[in-house]
Symmetry: C2
Subunit: 233 residues, 2 copies
DNA sequence: CGCGTCCTTGAACCGCGTCAAGCCAGGTGG
DNA sequence: CCACCTGGCTTGACGCGGTTCAAGGACGCG
């Protein structure tokens, strides 16, 4: 682990690192076999893999995808440090999705037996976990609607905001805090690479974004949100 | 309540009626204010309503929708007796979705304080609830992919199967066990009414369905599933 | 019988996916 | 230091598929 991931002051309400950093858990997890590192592009688990437990991201970024027709991958979630991974497997035998590291990622694996004993011992943890699921479900169903009803321009804007809200932007440069290519953006928006490029160009002409540099800059977040405002309360 | 809903032998693994029929709960819920009836078309709660608790469906059918651009409603879930309703609100302040009765529906309302006390008292209940969320999340993310990648013909077939799997069919007549109009089917498929009608006609010509009677009959379920088989493992 | 609601059909328009061709930047080797 | 290659990005054109709309049919109801 490059640095000690901390949860103090973490703005992410659903951050579980606090739990796994408690003395009790630290002892259990001190065995190094629980921690491992994935390089960018490496998969953490794939659709159909048996479920042995869940993962906590200590550091890094991960995309969660569902593989579709003709090698198209639909990105259903973006996760970063403090997030849980593989929780969709819980209660089933096989993962229904793929998890792939987007950059060097440090993971903490918690095997089923340990996890279940935590659920039994700590009902508050179970409760929090349930709330976490509730929030994820809400988000997933919202995105369902976007995919069904938005046109491509709106989907493109929404995908950018989705990335922005998942990984954040640099306050100064307004660059997205992640390296992401057109294909991945298309995978989030649920459209083709061609359309993404087309619409990114349009957005740039309107000075809403800037893609001169390597990373996309969101110059005018307000206008970007206006594009999709009809879909948000 | 027209008849006493029972959970015995219920094939639905996620049926919660068993819980609320335990002696402990029966006592708590014996107060009649917890039970109420909704007529078809009446809403149980709407987007933006404050969350006071959750609901269990004792009898009837309910559609869960998200209202979209231009009065289009996207149906994200179909629920029947034994299902929970309003659980998306848990952990948030307002419902993110609408719940509307599709036929006369008997509901049991469980207010937050009662629910939370159940979570504290019965960690197994919390655990089961968590697993339920996990399953719902999985389903929602699968449907996300379908909406993004299927063409209209596939969406139409998938919508029919979605209804069939949610509410079942009459074994003899092969009719869907629910009255549902074209607009609602379009809301499930995430397409327009025109396309639904067009594709239903096509499916009828191929003798896969029959819509002579009032309710749609699924004559050849196998062929219907073949249409979408590329999307299911 | 007239009215309303839901369903059906067909035609016109246009948004979107696809593809071919070219651009640019970074890496590699002579 | 330049020539070449490769992979990601960009642009524009084409054509299919889907949305939308208008007009009409089927059915139930007052």
């Amino acid at each position: 682990m490059k640095k000690n991931a901390s949860c103090d002051g973490c703005p992410n309400k659903n951050c579980f690192i606090g739990h796994i950093q408690s003395p009790e858990w630290k002892l259990k997890l001190s065995n190094s076999k629980h921690l491992f590192i994935q390089k960018p592009g490496q998969h953490i688990f794939l659709e159909g893999n048996p479920v042995f437990g869940i993962y906590f991201i200590l550091e890094g970024k991960v995309k969660v995808t569902i593989s579709g027709k003709g090698n198209k991958e639909q990105i259903v979630r973006l996760a970063k440090d403090g997030d849980v991974l593989g929780h969709r497997g819980l209660g089933g035998d096989f993962y229904p999705i793929n998890a792939i590291a987007m950059e060097e990622t440090v993971l903490c694996f918690v095997e089923n037996s340990l996890l279940y004993s935590a659920f039994i011992a700590n009902s508050e943890f179970t409760f929090e976990m349930m709330l976490f699921y509730s929030g994820e479900l809400r988000k997933a169903e919202q995105r369902m609607r976007y995919l069904a009803q938005m046109n491509v321009r709106e989907k493109t804007a929404d995908a950018l905001l989705f990335i922005r809200d998942s990984f954040g932007i640099n306050d100064e440069t307004k660059e997205l805090n992640v390296e992401i290519n057109r294909e991945e953006i298309a995978g989030i928006a649920g459209t083709s690479v061609g359309q993404i490029i087309h619409n990114l160009s349009d957005l740039e002409k309107q000075k809403i974004i800037d893609k001169t540099g390597k990373k996309i800059q969101i110059s005018d977040e307000k206008k970007l949100r206006e594009i999709v405002s009809a879909f948000y309360p």
